[in-house]
Amino acid sequence: MSDELIQRIISCIAESQKIPRENITLDSTFEELGIDSLDGVNILFLLENEFNINIPDEGVQGIRGVRQMVEALEKLLSGGANTGAVAQS
């Protein structure tokens, strides 16, 4: 789990929620950060742009916290089996 990846993801969450990055840690849950389902799709949109990938619906629906989000992104970016991630040209 690279620190750079964690920081980029935290930046996207901070941007979406309009909260200071310092308020977000790897162990923050979405509930603690006040992230609801609509915020969640907005964060996915920001992450798709940040990493220039398509994030499929499958595999992100059960994500409830920052650590889970980092793990899911890590898997997608490494082209993990059955992730369905598609790099955009």
Binding site: D36, S37, L38, V41, L44, P56, D57
Partner: protein
Amino acid sequence: MGRRRVVITGIGVVSALGRDAREFWQALVEGRPGIGPITLLDMSAMRFQNGAQARSFNPAEHFQQKELDFLDRFAQFAVVAAREAVRDAGVEWTAGLRERSAIVTGSCVGGKASEDEGFQTLYLLRKPRVNPLTIPRTMGNAGASYVSMETGICGPTYTVSTACSSANHAIGQAFWMVRDGIVELALTGGSEAPFSMGHLKAWEAMRVVAPDTCRPFSKDRRGMILGEGGAMMVLEPLEAAQARGARIYAEIVGFGMSSDAHHLTQPSVEGPARAIRAALADGGLAPEQIGYINAHGTATPANDPTEVAAVRAALGAQAERLAISSTKSMHGHALGAAGAIEAIATVLALREGVLPPTANFTTPDPLCDLDVVPNQARRAEVECALSNSFAFGGLNAVLAFRRWEG
């Protein structure tokens, strides 16, 4: 003038289930979904592929090319459904009746395909000007206005836009205008044509559209399936309908509205429950009279259990006795037309004594454990039925109908 009883004397439907109300009802009774790959657009860059497209709709069968220049697909649906409803009702127009008639339609997004075309011309093709008919094609009231020009109806005519509740709000207001003697006849319903690339991309980004099909109340549901079409009905005072010997499909008896005052997209239990209670109160109905509900039933993870909880909150023990099905499983979610299409499904269910099923149902969900009429239509003569619409933005509208024992 006191309150008058109001009946439905004509219906018209264009949908993924066929060209008219007869084909629509046939598919509903057979539990046959009109869901499949969207062919109106190149879907290769989309995460989802399926929709409930009105495949048998051929604009050239209904309009001259000159007319088509003026009409976006969503307005074409409104006009074709209105023609069928008026013909079905056998309305004999007089100058006086035209002045005392209303048109109230619902549309969530208006002429999105025409708007998209303009944007492509500007931003993709880099042309300096767009089609001058873009504005009249795109405006939400285009369908209502064209129906007015064609029928000569020149009383109150307008379009309501409350996302997925648009048509129920439209029908409810038309009902109240007829009931209260403001007009003598209303042509009301809704239409929608959401299959444009820009609009579908927006739905894709929301992550609420199913990759396969629409499975309301089923544990393996994966979201909604967008649909298109139009549905219109003719409402008249009971006395006038009887005086001219009109066929009566059903009586419209109640309309209830509420707002969740809660969240832009998350559904609530209490808002929909208040709209259901308001519809019962408006119609002077007791929960025990409700035998069927045509659900909002979008098949999103959030909607269905919330709707079930709202039905229980509003109807108490009767919720366990009634049947509730989502016909969106067959005609898809036609957004601003949904309430109109579903109102006609509800009216026909009352008239024919057959409850349309929830199609594509595979696995019961403990969170949606009402009688959802899975997969098979059921013969049942119920006295009254509700049709629910709950919109993004938390705006709820519920219609109540009563079987006509003519």
